[in-house]
Amino acid sequence: MTEAAIRKLAAEVLGDIAPEAEPGTLSDDEDMREALDLDSMDFLNFVIGLHKGSGVDIPEADYPKLFTMKGVVSYFSRDSG
């Protein structure tokens, strides 16, 4: 996936989970669970959305790599170019 496509997917999924959050206020290095007040269920829904939108398998052990936008971008760039 291209970086733009990854960011678009992540923003769409987060928009469903935290509709009141301002897009663009999340910085790349911020833990989105803190920034957007996501609980375990929210974060699991984020993973489900990323998995469905990208087709990439995301084992549970990889969850910590997806806590920041920077992590999300590098995770999906790496996996499917």
């Binding site: 009141e20 609980d39 398998d57």
Partner: protein
């Protein structure tokens, strides 16, 4: 003929606004059908019917706010002819709702209002709770208003009628709040919810002599079992630790039923099943604890689905009345980023609340040596009128036992 009344959707509810009728006169209904959407401080709630029959009359307009216990509709039983509404008053013939807040005023159906102009009592002015709240919102003293309620009390309509004249509102604003028929809003009002939580929790702390117990539990096995379970599954089939805690608690309550039920009229009434109220915090503030019915008899994947569905509907609107009326006990779980432990305040008329802190890896003694284990602090707040710490201790021990055999959950 049965009267369908505004249900009490918890100890903290005084009024509700019918925002949408899902039936009309002549509609056949059966138990569990959604007949109306009622807006409360918990958002828009789908109110279900508890019997079978045919709707004969709707007694409240969409957009109308009425107190708990007010007549909403009349139903004919399955065998009854579709009779005209009887002339005599039948309101309140039936208990309004299983657990009505004692603080709520007697029901006053909107159709019962006396004609305008009947004497309002001079000395002490009665004001309905809804009217009092709206008056406070608008900065009015309800005692100065002319009441048109059945006994001369000041009703919501009186306040609504008085507000525009009492304030020189800017035209743009005046046009809007005068109670246009409201669309079924799917959210909730955080200020209203705050007030309702304040009322319920104040009542709890005033009336319920709480006792508190805490226990630290080793979740090593449960977490290991979950990791193995989730490893083989796609994200949407995975389980959260919350589901394991929930199931273990539900099964433990089956073994210690003295903590699953209600304190009513000076006595304990056991719950008809283990209907776990799951405390869900809402984005923007507030919380609601709707029931997962028969959690002790539900498989882990089904519990996960139920939890996901419940959280979604709690936040977006669309909880059902049975989910708010039925909880027999409450669980609050702080999740992965919360505090170490939580000691809850009992939601009356329930008699217990179980709290799970954050699961965190800490040193723990295992077989004489120190190991790193995922631990959780579990608390029980119990109603001392209904049980003692000895019974409470049994519940915590039973939860711990069950969490050591996650494969059996």
């Amino acid at each position: 003929m049965t009267d369908f009344l505004m249900p009490s959707l918890g100890a903290d509810m005084e009024t509700g606004t019918v925002v949408e009728w899902r039936v009309k006169p002549g509609s056949p209904v059966k138990k569990g059908d959604v007949i109306a959407v009622v807006e409360t401080h918990k958002g828009a709630i789908e109110v279900e019917c508890f019997e079978e029959g045919t709707v004969s009359e709707l007694c409240v307009e969409e957009g109308e706010e009425v107190p708990v216990g007010a007549l909403l509709a009349r139903l004919n039983g399955p065998g009854e002819p579709a009779a005209q509404p009887e002339p005599g008053e039948k309101v309140q013939e039936q208990a309004p709702a299983p657990r009505k807040a004692p603080a709520a005023e007697p029901a006053r159906a909107p159709r019962e209002r006396a004609p305008e102009g009947e004497a309002a009592p001079e000395a002490r002015v009665a004001v309905t709770p809804a009217a009092r709240r709206r008056a406070a919102e608008r900065g009015l003293d309800p005692a100065t208003l002319k009441g048109t309620g059945i006994d001369g009390s000041v009703t919501l309509a009186d306040v609504e009628a008085a507000a525009p004249s009492a304030f020189a509102r800017p035209p743009a604003e005046a046009a809007e709040p005068a109670a246009p028929p409201r669309k079924a809003k799917r959210g909730f009002d955080p200020d209203q919810m705050r007030q309702a939580i304040a009322a319920a929790m104040s009542r709890s702390k005033r009336e319920i002599p709480h006792y508190y117990l805490t226990s630290t539990m080793d979740l090593g096995r449960a977490v290991g079992w979950l990791e193995a379970f989730n490893r083989e599954r796609a994200p949407d089939e995975r389980l959260l630790p919350a589901v394991v805690l929930l199931k273990a608690t539900a099964l433990a309550l089956g073994k210690v039923p003295q903590l699953n039920g209600f304190w009513e009229n000076g006595a304990f009434r056991p719950g008809p099943g283990v209907h776990l109220g799951w405390a869900i915090s809402l984005r923007g503030g507030g919380l609601v604890a709707p029931a997962i019915h028969n959690a002790d008899k539900t498989s882990l994947p089904d519990l996960m689905a139920a939890l996901r569905d419940l959280v979604g509907r709690a936040r977006a609107g669309g909880l059902r009345s049975s989910e708010l009326i039925d909880p027999t006990v409450t669980i609050t779980s702080l999740g992965e980023r919360g505090a170490d432990s939580v000691i809850g305040v009992i939601y009356p008329p329930q008699v217990a609340i179980i709290g799970f802190g954050r699961i965190a890896e800490r040193p723990w003694v295992v077989d004489g040596g120190i190991e790193k284990r995922p631990l959780v602090s579990v608390s029980l707040s119990g109603d001392h009128r209904a049980s003692d710490g000895h019974t409470g201790g049994k519940l915590l021990a039973a939860i711990d036992d069950l969490l050591q055999q996650p494969e059996a959950l």
